[in-house]
């Protein structure tokens, strides 16, 4: 416990100091990483803990983002309403998806989440008068929560706070009796039923919680880029976050956070060299499944347990 608090304090100190040491470009890259850390951790709750592999997670991310974008740009609505509305509606969409997708399991679940997400993408793409279609909605100004968050530094701190609090909440959830029940469901639904757990309700709750955090990440993303387009809803986004989770190591929260950082940094590095980001992403996926099926965290653990044995 002591060591944990120490690590957390150290992490807070380092993250708080970053604006003083990093050039603006890398600071905003860090902001982006933090947003995807949240996105990836939200998906890990579903995949790693509950055992439900979703290929439509960008729907919640993008829907939250669109709600913020539309309210701010089209509605001139206050950020005090826009951000909570973005999260709330993404959560509601999560509930709807859950009801539809939880009728199936395994690859069928995957297909349904994918199909539903494609519907949302199609609406954003096609409804030009509302969403601007392919061109998206520019001019989503950064919010003012008591202080203006327009500049990179204060926006970074805001994202750090939001992602930090969300991470704490997720860690609490996975350690709680509820979180343990999710692991049980991942391992054996019939066993959990035989022990008296209402499996469907747990899966539903996990799905909705996961969608809520993904929605928050999407809202932050749109504020960060000041722009929203169908790209945030695209299946490539869903695949990307899935790969972040797998690369880091499912069911660990920390792993997907690391996976998110690695992928965003890699994307940033690669984009100056080639346009073939999807190809690179595919290679990362294949290499991970071949050589580190339990992700980077799994590799690390294997390495340490082997050293301990010696």
């Amino acid at each position: 416990m002591r060591r944990y608090s120490l690590v957390i304090l150290l992490a807070i100190a380092i993250f708080a100091a970053l604006p003083y040491v990093l050039p603006t470009y890398y600071l905003s890259l860090t902001t982006k990483i933090l947003i995807f850390v949240l996105f990836a951790m939200s998906l890990d709750l579903l995949i790693g803990y509950t055992g439900l592999a979703s290929l439509g997670h960008a729907a919640f991310f993008g829907f939250g983002g669109y709600v913020v974008g539309l309210l701010v740009v089209r509605g001139q609505v206050s950020e005090w309403i826009a951000l909570p509305a973005g999260v709330a509606l993404a959560t509601a969409l999560g509930a709807l998806f859950a009801v539809l997708a939880l009728r199936a399991r395994g690859s069928y679940f995957l297909m349904i989440t994918l199909a539903l997400a494609q519907v949302v993408w199609g609406i954003a793409f096609g409804w030009r008068t509302l969403t601007g279609g392919d061109d998206g909605l520019p001019g989503v100004k950064r919010p003012t929560f008591i202080v203006s968050l327009a500049d990179e530094n204060s926006f970074y701190y805001f994202v750090l706070l939001m992602v930090g609090l969300s991470a704490l909440a997720l860690v609490a959830i996975v350690r709680s009796p509820f979180g343990h029940a999710l692991r049980g469901i991942r391992e054996s639904e019939t066993r959990m039923l035989a022990l008296g757990f209402n499996v469907w309700r747990h899966q539903f709750a996990a799905f909705v919680i996961s969608a809520a955090f993904a929605g928050l990440a999407g809202c932050l993303f749109v504020y960060n880029t000041r722009f929203v387009s169908p790209d945030v809803l695209h299946v490539v986004r869903s695949a990307e976050v899935l790969i972040m989770v797998i690369l880091g190591g499912v069911g660990t929260l920390l792993g997907p956070a690391i996976g998110a950082a690695v992928i965003i940094l890699l994307e940033d590095f690669v984009s100056s060299l080639t346009q073939r980001w999807l190809l690179i992403l595919g290679i990362v996926y294949v290499v991970t499944t071949l050589f580190a099926p339990r992700g980077l965290v799994g590799l690390y653990r294997d390495y340490f347990s082997r050293n301990r044995k010696r």
Partner: protein, 246 residues
């Protein structure tokens, strides 16, 4: 009081009739052993009692409540626990975590999101006491998938009885175990409180006769004989189809 009442239960899978008009009734605290050759319908009967499958027709009641249409978790909350013929545990979790989940389920500790499970002292104490009681303390922190088959069977029995169920269904708890392991599991069953109603599927006649207050023999989806040891041993039909097969 009648613990379990099965009335004229039928189950068919497509064209296959797995159960045909099964009627059985158990008093509270009674220990019934189900015998029968492979494919007789014993596991299917268990599944329809526990709700893993729904009976095609007929009626099942548990302590007076009609449970015929209830999902398995609702039946578990009425005090029914079971083991499975094919070991059904949380393979990637430790033995302690497996038992903790069973205790959480039994104490209806669900949808608690804030306090870590580690800090629910009563739950932790209960789980550890169970491990102590059933000699699994040394295995507490081992992953279930790393246990031997025999150990897994024991964990599953402990898991099923950790909620102090009113009725316990054991589907071949000793199948595939060494003679020593079989003795251990039988010792566990013998140690169970006398007011716990038990139905056990068993292939070994000696084990069956030793545990049972009463025996029912199934064949081709029907209960063909029911009674005490003498009645079963003396039954011609049973010797023909069951003992002949052995």
């Amino acid at each position: 009081m009648i613990a379990l009442d099965i009335e004229n239960v039928t189950k068919s899978f497509g064209g296959v009739r797995a159960l045909t008009g099964v009627t059985l009734s158990l008093n509270e605290g009674e220990r019934l052993v189900l015998l029968g050759p492979n494919g007789a319908g014993k596991t299917t009967l268990f599944h329809s009692i526990s709700g893993n499958i729904l009976a095609s027709s007929g009626r099942i009641s548990l302590f007076g409540d009609d449970i015929t249409q209830l999902p398995p978790d609702a039946r578990a909350r009425l005090g029914l626990a079971r083991t499975f013929q094919i070991t059904n545990l949380f393979a990637q979790l430790t033995v302690l975590e497996n038992i903790l989940l069973a205790v959480c389920g039994a104490q209806k500790l669900t949808f608690k999101f804030v306090r870590p499970l580690d800090r629910y002292d009563d739950i932790q104490k209960r789980a550890r006491a169970l491990l102590e009681e059933w000699n699994l303390v040394d295995a507490a922190d081992r992953l279930v998938r790393n246990l031997s088959y025999g150990e897994q069977r024991q964990v599953e029995v402990v898991m099923a009885l950790s909620g102090e169920p009113r009725i316990l269904l054991l589907d071949e708890p000793t199948a595939g175990l060494s003679p020593a392991e079989t003795l251990r599991v039988m010792e566990m069953v013998r140690k169970l409180p006398r007011d716990m109603t038990i139905v056990m599927i068993e292939h070994d006649m000696d084990v069956a006769f030793e545990i049972a207050d009463r025996i029912a023999v199934m064949h081709q989806g029907r209960v063909i004989a029911e009674g005490d040891e003498a009645a079963i041993r003396g039954n011609q039909q049973v010797s023909d189809i069951y003992l002949g097969v052995e």
